[in-house]
Point group: C2
Chain length 573, copies 2
Amino acid sequence: MAENIVIIGAVAAGPKTACRLRRLNPEAKITIIDMDNLISYGGCGIPYYVSGDVSDEKELRSTSFHVLRDAQFFNNAKGVKVMIRTEVTKIDRQNRKIDFTSLDSGEAGSMPYDKLVICTGAAPNQPPIAGADLPGVHYVSNMHQAIAIKDKLAKGQVGRAVVIGGGAIGLEMAESFADLWEVETTIIEFMPQILPKAVDRIFAMMLTNHLRQNGIQVHVSENVQKIEEVEDGYKVTSNKRSLETDIVIMAVGVHPRTDLALEAGLQVTPRGGIVVNNRLQTSDPNIYAAGDCIETTNLVSGQKVVAPFGSLANRQGRVVADNLAGIPNKFTGVVGSFIMKAFESSIGSTGLSLESALAAGFDADRVITAQTDRAHFFPTHAVIPLQMVFDKRTRQVLGVQGFGPMNDAVLTRIDTAAALIAKGAIVEDFSNVEMAYAPPFATALDALNATANVADNLIDGRLRTVDLDLFLAWMEDSSSQPDWLALDIRHPKDAKLFKDEFKELWLTIPYVEVRQRTAEIPTDKTMIIICDAGTRSSEVQRYLDSIGQTNNLVLGGGFNIMRQLSPAWWPKQ
Amino acid sequence: MAENIVIIGAVAAGPKTACRLRRLNPEAKITIIDMDNLISYGGCGIPYYVSGDVSDEKELRSTSFHVLRDAQFFNNAKGVKVMIRTEVTKIDRQNRKIDFTSLDSGEAGSMPYDKLVICTGAAPNQPPIAGADLPGVHYVSNMHQAIAIKDKLAKGQVGRAVVIGGGAIGLEMAESFADLWEVETTIIEFMPQILPKAVDRIFAMMLTNHLRQNGIQVHVSENVQKIEEVEDGYKVTSNKRSLETDIVIMAVGVHPRTDLALEAGLQVTPRGGIVVNNRLQTSDPNIYAAGDCIETTNLVSGQKVVAPFGSLANRQGRVVADNLAGIPNKFTGVVGSFIMKAFESSIGSTGLSLESALAAGFDADRVITAQTDRAHFFPTHAVIPLQMVFDKRTRQVLGVQGFGPMNDAVLTRIDTAAALIAKGAIVEDFSNVEMAYAPPFATALDALNATANVADNLIDGRLRTVDLDLFLAWMEDSSSQPDWLALDIRHPKDAKLFKDEFKELWLTIPYVEVRQRTAEIPTDKTMIIICDAGTRSSEVQRYLDSIGQTNNLVLGGGFNIMRQLSPAWWPKQ
């Protein structure tokens, strides 16, 4: 008899499981059940629908050949039955059946299954803030919310917006408001930086700088305390300020929807996701789970994580379908690849941040470089700051982060790094990875290779860098490191602005003259060697070391990094 | 006593070796000797200098911080002595010295070495064609040639150009003539396709089509027989035509410069490069070699190859320097990553082509897909045809090729693939590689993942594709496969043009109606299932198979591929 497969959830993992399984098993009876009427949509596209880049919400729910993925489509084209507006109320494992209720008619029913797949996704976190449930507070959790938000924008009801939460969704929503709609937009983030889970502080600062340049107010380390209705909209009050606004976007993370699984007695990690093996089977071998509702393994740290990404949901759906069809496919975990557009910039990461690597117990350190994406003589070249986090003892590369212009330059390095990190690659693997080269695409020694070479030098003691946070503090207040002197080896015209400002604390000897003018460099001070990308500084450090002047540190990534941070002391042109 | 290191050749591998070694070993005496006065240049940038993208040839010889890399620079900034316009005439291994002659003064001298590094590069092949040495025939082999060519363009002396050789350099030069300078440009290639070493025929056809759309004449399978001076320039005569032209670019490949090494009795592969171990030591342990003059190993095929790429020369220079300094670094071989700009397109490859994989004895096959680079609802999305070559028995991925718009979309997939291929990855590794996803950058299931999934289906017998060459032939002349019928499952308006043309050979049933209209599909014919990307066709094949109608083949990549090839039968809009 044909197997009876029931799938709960029709957004990403569910439909993927169903369609792949149908191709593998033409006999099976496949049913997807979802509470919503809008299904199978690209949720990650919501900010681009709100922004206007995508004009119609139906595009997010259509195939690449412009057919709407509704219940009828799944039935006719895919041979998959979809029950919409239907809530599964109970999983009865003993009798292998589920109970459900129609949300429209209120009618209840039950349905047997041979295999069940739970794809219940994630729900937005609702912080305990007074007013978090007011009608002007939107959670970007489904298409209905997206449509409601865009509707307000289109009707001209939104001149001011407050986004609570500086994660990827909050930032993308902020851009969608500020860019085409020219809404006055403010982001409030509880943590000391935006994108706290995705990137380290320096990279968050680069992005913050770019957001501010594009007119977005960004407040970090700030705790929203209440939201109130006021005459002309809403008032958001934090521990630091009050903001009047027309709309509030609440984007403070998501958590796996595990109620059904918990009630059915399946193993669920407290405050985590549904526990699955690498075949994506739950603690009941007849029940699989996939997508945002499960917990998986971070392949670098070995720790259990929840990784709510649409791309993973798709991959997991394929794995579930394969296993249901008897193909022994595995989903072993994630490295955590991330990429985001922000106006004219892009930011990405894969693997562990320095912070998370240290927290996971690695003997971790990092290098930051500021090479160009393309040949420096090619007109469209731009600096792409890259960070590599590694274990100093094992030389394993733990993570890579990048920031650059809005093209695929950062993506290229992140994807390549993700491939290597998942394979447990060491620094040497990154030095040697054969990035394709032509001047319009890369540099002869690609920025990713070069970053690995810098890491190699650091690990082997051929490079000592200054802590960027200490350096930033010193530039703000030079008394914070009383024995430091800057050794600026850039062209005198670039160095002049700083020389004028820092005077005797700022020694300027152009790179090409260092070997001839070594006597001018004091030996009783800690010299912070500064250039634009860090490479010439490293070379000067090697030279000074070779003549016994070792009291010096390189500013890794040089002023190319500082320029991206645009700190208060950076000269305004 | 300080070691005495002599390096022959000052373009890429030589200077890289010298500068890295200087950083590792401040004591060593380092001398680079080169015949030319123009040294340390980005040779791959020559087409962009000729095109005008790079305005001054000095930019190709400058650092990223705009300092000219001449002999003085190496001496002052790097602590490396460079002797220009000096020819090394002999390597005396017995006495560890080299003899040299100044090309300007004619003075001869000799110099001892403790370690010698040969970076003599590659020389352009000079085909046995009458007239190949005429003054209007340029080999793109050094900066002087580049300057001479651009000089002619700038003076308005070039209205017509013939490029002999359809490899990367020939194609890039052709673009540089045709694009900004609007020169009438013709490419003549001896082999049946352009880029014969880099990509398979289908991808070469896509590029050929794009070049032709941009006004370049491309002739393949054509043998140039002579070049003559005529009244108004030159005449190039092939076995098929005569062309009058103002300039001829000869770009028929390069070969390692190994004369010095051969004369010194070092091991050199006949018609190949200098033999080195993975420390880049030649058969004389005191002599290293790096760059275009050596032979290396293709990591996929295991075969010895010459891989004259600037990016590899840089990496090899680092390895030589490390070993000279006592750091046991290795260069184990290449996968052969390649990327090229052509007008508004890019083309790339890594690993083996299908042709070379079969020649190397693999049980190789390939799939071609036509997914989009970005989310299909994101405005800037474009189709990027990808090919994956794999071994059907071991599932090892042997190569990936891509064609797409002029951005980094193809590069991203090529670099990621190169990282995996170098690690011996199998199809499953490509299915699972965690490509970062956001709609402006990728699709939820990245095109590279999707291509691997298609390969997985093919290997496991869940997909049967039609040979693209046979299909192209059938479209030209349907009698070539008398039992074939097209089953076009696209939207009727897309299918109509073909239905009108092919009539009873062209069955049209839209994808969403196939399950309802199965009875209309004949069982006594071989159905070629056609859609736009190949995915819906695969699904329909699975469905037809499931009801016992197995006499069908999928057009892999669908009409998205055919559109890129723009064959003669493709409807002109």
